[in-house]
Symmetry: C2
Subunit: 218 residues, 2 copies
DNA sequence: ATCCGACTTTCTGTATACAGAACCCTTGTG
DNA sequence: CACAAGGGTTCTGTATACAGAAAGTCGGAT
């Protein structure tokens, strides 16, 4: 693995896991020493992060980009646009059997959620497989790329919302509805199911954030 | 201006103006000598281009990304998704007076088009102002960023379509219709007008490309 | 004649040294 | 006491040198 990849992966994870708070300045020498790489690959890593929007190139050095409540609204507005369209396209172009299988697995997901942590990991992996299947079904690399670059920011927000078992169970049912609509080849229904899911998800995030707004500033 | 910015601007223009054909390998020493900068800032420029999708980091060196006919379809599918939504949002949130003014200017655009080259530049600048006004009206930085990263690729395609006076006049009328719908605060109409414009534009590009498909391979 | 392998060459990836610029702190003055 | 100017420090931006890897090439063997 290249040193620049290592630095990129480490910094990216530090940012999405909120170990590096928004506003933190990433000085080159400081970070290169911390990560055990030279300044050259570190600069390349910072460039990639800035291109993704996780960091911003300010006057002196790059700073971790802030995510505020208005940003969450904007983020979900774009997400609704992209994923709604993606679901509709997947319903037109996707393979029915693939999504029927995913739907069956998602309907059994509550067993995973009620379990302990390792089972939870299986659940997240299952949801990831649905995303991947949609990406493949739409057969549009530009749209898929736009969704990938969006998901980076969504992971950052997910850490703010304490996903309890109740919400995860509901989310699994919503995902199953999306998979069902795609398998049925119904574009409008697939888009509608996606919009519903995203709105519920957004409401949950905002409700969580409103109740413990300062959890991550300590 | 930094050396990396200079290299980035030069390479980007070379690519979108088709002076660097798709598939061209950009060797670091060769390009750094050609552009008069060192390898370090050149690498940063290549990284930015790769992040935008204009180049691809293959096995050895980076190569100019190819744009095929299927890519054009994919590109316009994403464009319809993003710009359709953007027009709808602008109709809800935009300032009516701004778009009324733009509509009036666009209705007078045929005078610019029938003229010679300097007037044509004024026309392109006017269309750019409409894009900028929509970007500002939606007040969603993530959506705006997604559209900006998409426009880079569209400029590349625009060079393939010989925009004759006939098509430009029609396009101006379509743009005026979009501005009118936004000024009227009608989201569905604004989206529909945008979809119509994009489909006409796509048809024109494909028709042009079908008649002289090999123009840029000499 | 063709295919496999080692060698050579060239390119990328990384480290480091140096120069210029930006920021901060200090000091002097109004 | 406030503010501005100067110097000093620290950081970024750039160039270059070196090492490792990949691709091309040449030679030998089957």
């Amino acid at each position: 693995m290249r040193a620049s990849d290592k630095a990129y992966a480490a910094l990216r994870e530090d940012i999405v896991e909120w170990r590096l708070a928004p506003g933190t300045v990433l000085a080159e020498v400081e970070q290169s020493e911390r990560l055990g790489v030279s300044r050259t690959p570190l600069r390349e890593a910072l460039g990639r992060l800035t291109a993704e929007g996780l960091t911003t190139a300010g006057g002196r050095g790059v700073v971790v980009t802030d995510i505020s409540l208005e940003d969450i609204d904007e983020l979900f507005e774009l997400r609704e646009t992209l994923e709604g369209r993606a679901a509709a396209l997947a319903a037109r172009r996707g393979d029915a059997a693939t999504f029927e299988r995913l739907q069956r697995e998602l309907l059994q997901a509550p067993e995973l959620i009620s379990g302990d942590d390792p089972a939870l990991h299986d659940y997240y992996e299952l949801v990831g497989r649905l995303d991947t299947a949609i990406d493949a079904a739409i057969s549009n690399s530009y749209l898929a790329q736009a969704m990938r670059s969006l998901r980076v920011h969504l992971v950052r927000i997910r850490r703010l919302a304490a996903d309890d078992a109740c919400r995860l169970t509901a989310a699994a049912a919503e995902h199953a509805a999306i998979a069902e609509a795609i398998a049925a080849g119904n574009p409008k229904l697939a888009e509608a199911a996606t919009v519903v899911h995203l709105h519920r998800s957004l409401s949950h995030v905002k409700a969580t954030h409103a109740s413990h707004p300062k959890e991550h500033h300590g």
